[in-house]
């Protein structure tokens, strides 16, 4: 618990005149379920994109488990344990659920290069895939193509794929968007439980403040590329500056 899991130092990124990260400094601690909130255009998605390697930063450093990963390619960050899910459904629609889940597991087991072995012959991978499918409650549909699932189930699968990569730190970009209430409860329950088990540290980007405040232990507020609030949910709720630029508009109730 000494060194932070992820540390961001002086991170900057601008698209033309639009600054989406302005000398950001952040550190994430292992085991703390964190939410990142902010109004539209605050730079939440960009921050995730930069941290996970989708977009290079203009300047600054990203240190993950004491290792500088600022310029590491995506797949290597994933292998180190830095993973994400996406805002829109981002699964392998043409493949079966089992295959969807197997892909990151194969990567994690370093078994993805086999040319002449068979997927079905990878016993350890198969078992782990079934375990994850069970965990996300889709074990019955294991042999169906992902395209046969409902939108909500596809989102669940999305999280499943992210989990299958054995992340230490997992960014979930609006994990409940487009879900019905039943699915929403299912996925949140999953997240809570996993977080308590302590193997995965979650960072969630959300719009739904109920979820944010009920789930997270720490909330970070972004506004125009700046951190304007950082602390436990209660403290954020009470922060006048945050209320002014953000909560004031949306969470009047």
């Amino acid at each position: 618990m000494t060194a932070p899991l992820l540390e961001v130092r002086d991170l900057s990124k601008a698209f033309g005149n639009v600054v989406t990260a302005n000398n950001l400094n952040l550190s994430l601690t292992a085991g703390v379920l964190t939410s990142i909130i902010g109004p539209n255009g605050a730079g939440k998605s960009t921050l995730i994109n930069i941290l996970t390697g989708f977009i290079p930063p203009d300047s600054g450093r990203i240190i993950f488990q004491s290792q500088d990963i600022t310029y590491e390619p995506i797949y290597r960050r994933v292998r180190l344990g830095l993973c994400r899910s996406f805002q829109v459904v981002n699964v392998f629609t043409g493949l079966t659920l089992f295959e969807n889940i197997s892909i990151p597991i194969l990567a994690a087991h370093r078994r993805a290069n086999g040319l002449f072995s068979t997927v079905s012959g990878e016993k350890a991978v198969r078992e782990e895939a079934h375990r994850i499918l069970q965990r996300i409650g889709l074990q019955e549909q294991g042999d169906l193509p992902a395209s046969a699932l409902s939108h909500g189930d596809q989102r669940v699968l999305e999280v499943g794929i992210a989990l299958a990569a054995r992340p230490k730190l997992l960014f979930l970009d609006e994990p409940t968007a487009g879900m019905n209430p039943v699915e929403r409860i299912k996925i949140l329950e999953n997240i809570r439980q996993l977080s308590q088990e302590g193997e995965v540290t979650f960072v969630i980007v959300e719009h739904d403040m109920d979820i944010v405040f009920s789930l997270s232990e720490r909330v970070i507020v972004l506004h125009r590329g700046d951190v304007i609030g950082d602390g436990p949910p209660e403290q954020i709720k009470a922060d006048p500056h945050v209320r002014e630029v953000y909560l004031g508009e949306e969470v009047v109730a």
């Binding site: 996970t52 390619p73 995506i74 797949y75 290597r76 994933v78 292998r79 993973c83 994400r84 996406f86 981002n90 699964v91 392998f92 629609t93 043409g94 493949l95 295959e99 197997s102 892909i103 990151p104 194969l106 990567a107 994690a108 078994r111 993805a112 290069n113 086999g114 040319l115 002449f116 072995s117 068979t118 997927v119 079905s120 990878e122 991978v125 794929i161 992210a162 299958a164 990569a165």
Partner: protein, 318 residues
């Protein structure tokens, strides 16, 4: 399809091919060899096209590299046919590695155009390096020496003998490609086709896998080219022309992209149709074009895909 049925069909197929080799006329032998060689080309190509979802317009370059590799090895180094084929495949793979290194940075139309550009560079090179490639006359009179295995040597000079040489490579290629299709590597390629961003975020270096698929398909193209050299006893730079690159695309689409046997069936159609059309008309391009149209408009999954879908539908109804 049921697994035991697959085995039975495969066994039947091999039995038929052996039967053709033993009993049929020289022209049927020749056509069957053409089909097998085209199949190797198209099935290898389909690792990249059908599986990884990358449309290459430059694979004739690797076909031709394999062909020239075999020809040059036979002429200048050693006439052992297996050695020559191995040299051809390696040459094609190296060429694919070099060209692929640049091409896999892009996808879709950009990838297609990039492969077209590199393919035409290779074509131009083969045309112009006359001292090595013989210019547009190419290299001809490449002899099929016997395969020497220490004490014994197996002649492959006659077509009926060479047929089994081709058949052996064909069966091995089919097995390898089938195996690759079921391997973790094959699954990763399919995942790249489906969603390359997600694949990267699953912890897999997408470009490297694309490059690997590119090189593997290039190696099979080289094998096909090499076998063709021994069949035709010559090679010309036209083998590298972009219009030749269109062959495996046509074959794959005709047979069916996402099916394993699609390119096989497509190759049979491609060779046999053309041969049959030529028997009743000199305007073969017109008829070939019309058949292609019919396949695109009527059989969108290719012949194999559509038939499978049709069978499935009828069995569900029945």
């Amino acid at each position: 399809m049921n697994r035991s049925w697959t085995y039975i069909l495969a066994a039947l197929g091999i039995a038929v091919l052996i039967g053709i080799g033993l009993f049929s006329s020289r022209f049927i032998l020749y056509l069957t060899m053409r089909v097998m060689i085209l199949s190797i080309f198209a099935m290898g190509y389909n690792i990249l096209f059908g599986r990884t979802g990358l449309l290459s317009f430059g694979h004739a370059a690797f076909y031709a590299t394999g062909a020239y590799g075999v020809a040059l090895c036979t002429i200048h180094v050693h006439s052992h046919p297996v050695l020559a084929v191995v040299a051809g495949v390696i040459a094609a793979a190296v060429m694919a590695l070099i060209i692929g290194f640049f091409c896999v940075r892009h996808t879709e139309i950009y990838f297609a155009m990039l492969t077209l550009a590199f393919g035409m560079m290779v074509f131009s090179l083969m045309w112009n390096v006359r001292g090595i490639t013989g210019g547009d006359d190419g290299l001809s009179g490449i002899i099929r020496a016997p395969i020497s295995l220490g004490l014994i040597s197996i002649p492959i000079m006659k077509d009926s003998q060479y047929y089994f040489f081709v058949l052996m490579f064909f069966v091995v290629s089919v097995l390898l490609i089938h195996r690759i299709g079921r391997s973790p590597f094959g699954l990763v390629l399919a995942s790249i086709r489906e969603n390359h961003v997600r694949t990267e975020f699953a912890g897999l270096p997408v470009k490297r896998y694309r490059l690997a698929a590119f090189v593997i398909s290039g190696a099979f193209a080289g094998l096909a080219g090499g076998l063709a050299v021994f069949l035709e006893s010559n090679v010309t730079p036209f083998a590298a022309h972009w219009s030749r690159s269109a062959d495996p695309v046509l074959v794959s689409l005709m047979g069916g992209l996402q099916t394993f046997s699609g390119p096989l069936v497509g190759s049979v159609l491609f060779v046999v149709l053309r041969e049959l059309i030529e028997r009743f008309t000199h305007n073969w391009m017109l008829w070939f074009g019309l058949i292609l149209l019919a396949i695109i408009m009527g059989f969108r999954g290719g012949i194999v895909g559509s038939t499978a879908a049709l069978l499935k539908r009828s069995s569900e109804q029945g």
